[in-house]
C-alpha cells in the first residue's frame, strides 16, 4: 500500500503487535523488572516509551518508571538547525538501574550517543539498553539496539517516517 508519504511498512495493527513483542522481550531479558526504567527520547520516543510501559504492565503486571529525555544540548552538530528543545523529565534516580532508552528510528547512532552522554549527567545507571521501533541501518557509530521492532533495509536517499497517534493522529511507519 502506498500513501502520500510513501510505502507503508507498519500499519497501526502491526505497530501495536510489534510493541507487544518488544515489551515481552524486555520482560524476558530483565529478570529484575523493578530495577528497569524506560527513558524515551523526544519526540516520538517518549510516546513509544509510555506505550511500552503499558504493554509491560499488561504482560508482567509491573508498573515501571518512564522518563523523557531531550538530547538537544548533547548533539554533535550544534551549528546546524536545531529542532524545538523540550524539557527532560526524569523524576526518579537512575543510579544502579537498567535504563532502556527508547527511540523511534535508529539511523546513524548519533542521537543514541548523545542520549547516553546526557544520561550520565543524571546518574550512573547499572546498564543501558536500547529499544527502537525501526532500525534503518547506515550506522556511523558502533551502536546497536537490544530490541528492534522492525529492521528496515533502506537506501541512503530514502526516508523513514514514523507517525504515532499521540503526535501525528495516526499509527504508521512509511518509507519514501
Amino acid at each position: 500500500m502506498a500513501t502520500a508519504t510513501g510505502k507503508v511498512v507498519l500499519d497501526g495493527d502491526a505497530l501495536r503487535r510489534t510493541l507487544v513483542r518488544v515489551a515481552h522481550e524486555i520482560v524476558e531479558k530483565n529478570a529484575d523488572l523493578d530495577g528497569v526504567c524506560l527513558v524515551g527520547i523526544y519526540t516520538r520516543g517518549v510516546a513509544l516509551a509510555h506505550r511500552l510501559r503499558h504493554e509491560i504492565a499488561t504482560a508482567a503486571g509491573v508498573e515501571i518508571d518512564v522518563g523523557a529525555l531531550d538530547i538537544s544540548f548533547y548533539r554533535d552538530d550544534v551549528s546546524s538547525r536545531q529542532p524545538v528543545v523540550h524539557s527532560t523529565r526524569l523524576d526518579f534516580a537512575i543510579d544502579g538501574r537498567t535504563v532502556v532508552l527508547v527511540d523511534d528510528v535508529l539511523y546513524t547512532g548519533r542521537t543514541i550517543r548523545a542520549a547516553i552522554d546526557a544520561l550520565f549527567d543524571y546518574g550512573r545507571p547499572a546498564r543501558i539498553q536500547l529499544a527502537v521501533l525501526a532500525d534503518r541501518g547506515h550506522r556511523e557509530l558502533p551502536i546497536r539496539a537490544d530490541y528492534v521492532g522492525k529492521n528496515l533495509p533502506t537506501a541512503a536517499d530514502e526516508r523513514v517516517f514514523v507517525r504515532l497517534i499521540e503526535t501525528d493522529e495516526i499509527d504508521e511507519v512509511t518509507i519514501r
Binding site: D70, S72, F73, Y74, R75, V78, S79, S80, R81, Q82, V84, V85, H86, S87, T88, R89, D117, D121, Y122
Partner: protein, 320 residues
C-alpha cells in the same frame, strides 16, 4: 540586527520577533531542568569561546553571562574596563580587534555609548550581544523579564504591566516597552512628567502621572531611580524624598495579588519600599534566577541558528 551575510546578533529587541522570543523562552525553560540536576552543565558549547566586555559597572549581568557560558561548557574570558579610561572611538575598536584575534564565537558588550554594540559587529566575526548600551537597549534584561512574567502568570498576551519611575534614563524600559508590546502585553508608564519621554505614546503605551493608576496592573515593574544622574543638579525631581512620597511603590499602593518586578540594583526606600521588595508578591529574586537560564538560551540560540533565514519572497496577490 543581522549583517549583510545574515550573521545574527542581539543588539536590541528589534532583532527578534515574537516567534524568536517564544523559542528562546522555551529553551530557557528546558535549561531550568538542567540546573536542577547535580551536574549543572551541558556540553553544548564545548570548544566555543564567549568574551564579555564590560565598559560599565555591572554585577548581575556580567556574572550571569559568564556563568551561563560556563554552564554551556564554553570557554569564557572577561574584560572589565573602567568607563573613564576607555574612549569610545579608536580604543573600543582596538580592544575589540585585539580580543577578536582570539576568535571568539560570541562577544557580550556593555558600554555607555549608545550604538557601541553595533559598531563592534564591524570589528569581529563573532555574534554580538548587547548587555546594555547607554540608555538605549538591554535586550537580555527584557527577555529574562518576559520569562519571569510568563512563569508567574502562565501567559504574556493581555497581561497589564505598569512600568513605574525613571523611564527617561532607562534602557531597561526601552527594551521592555518594545518586548512587552511584541508579546501582546499592555503597558502603562507611570512617573513624573520630567522622567517620561514626551511622545512615547507613539510606541503603543499609555502614560499616567498618578501612582494610583497602577491599581489595574497585573505586574508593577519598578525602575531604578538613576541617582547618579540626579546628583548632577538636573532638576528631574525636586528631591528623592518627594519622588518617594509621590511615586514610590509601597505596600499601601499595591493590591496583595499584584506582582512586583525590579531590574536591580534597588534603591530600597526610594523607588521601592523594603517590605515590598521582600514580599511574597515580589519576583525580584526570580528575575535574577531567570537571568541565568535566559542568557544560556540566548547564547544557545545564536550559536545554533547563526544566520537569519532569508526572508520569504513577498507574496504577490493574484488579481482575479
Amino acid at each position: 540586527m543581522t549583517d549583510r551575510d545574515g550573521r545574527r546578533h542581539l543588539l536590541g529587541m528589534a532583532d527578534v520577533d515574537a516567534a524568536d522570543v517564544e523559542r528562546i523562552l522555551d529553551t530557557a525553560k528546558s535549561f531550568e531542568a538542567v540546573l536542577d540536576r547535580e551536574v549543572k552543565k551541558v556540553p553544548t558549547l564545548r570548544g566555543r569561546t564567549v568574551m564579555t566586555l564590560f565598559f560599565e559597572s555591572s554585577t548581575r549581568t556580567s556574572s550571569s553571562f559568564e556563568l551561563a557560558a560556563k554552564r554551556l561548557s564554553a570557554d569564557t574570558m572577561s574584560l572589565k574596563a573602567s568607563g573613564s579610561s576607555v574612549d569610545k572611538g579608536e580604543s573600543l575598536k582596538d580592544t575589540v580587534q585585539t580580543i577578536s584575534a582570539y576568535g571568539p564565537d560570541v562577544v557580550v558588550i556593555r558600554h555607555a555609548g549608545i550604538g557601541a554594540p553595533g559598531l563592534v559587529t564591524r570589528w569581529t566575526d563573532a555574534h554580538v550581544i548587547n548587555a546594555g548600551d547607554g540608555k538605549h537597549q538591554h535586550p537580555t534584561q527584557c527577555l529574562l523579564d518576559l520569562y519571569t512574567m510568563r512563569e508567574a502568570l502562565g501567559r504574556l498576551d493581555g497581561v497589564q504591566v505598569a512600568i513605574v519611575g525613571d523611564v527617561l534614563h532607562s534602557r531597561v524600559a526601552r527594551s521592555n516597552i518594545q518586548g512587552f508590546r511584541m508579546m501582546g502585553a499592555e503597558v502603562l508608564l507611570v512617573g513624573p512628567k520630567t522622567l517620561i519621554p514626551r511622545g512615547i505614546e507613539a510606541t503603543g503605551v499609555r502614560v499616567s502621572h498618578d501612582i494610583r493608576d497602577i491599581a489595574d496592573a497585573d505586574v508593577v515593574y519598578v525602575l531604578r531611580m538613576q541617582r547618579e544622574r540626579m546628583a548632577e543638579g538636573a532638576a528631574y525631581v525636586p528631591t528623592l524624598q518627594e519622588y518617594t512620597a509621590r511615586w514610590g511603590v509601597t505596600r499601601a499602593r499595591l493590591r496583595p495579588t499584584q506582582l512586583v518586578m525590579h531590574p536591580g540594583p534597588m534603591n530600597r526606600g526610594v523607588e521601592i519600599a523594603t517590605d515590598v521588595a521582600d514580599a511574597a508578591q515580589s519576583l525580584i529574586l526570580r528575575q535574577v534566577e531567570a537571568g541565568l537560564v535566559t542568557r544560556m538560551a540566548v547564547l544557545y540560540d545564536l550559536v545554533t541558528r547563526p544566520y537569519r533565514e532569508p526572508a520569504a519572497a513577498p507574496v504577490v496577490a493574484a488579481v482575479a
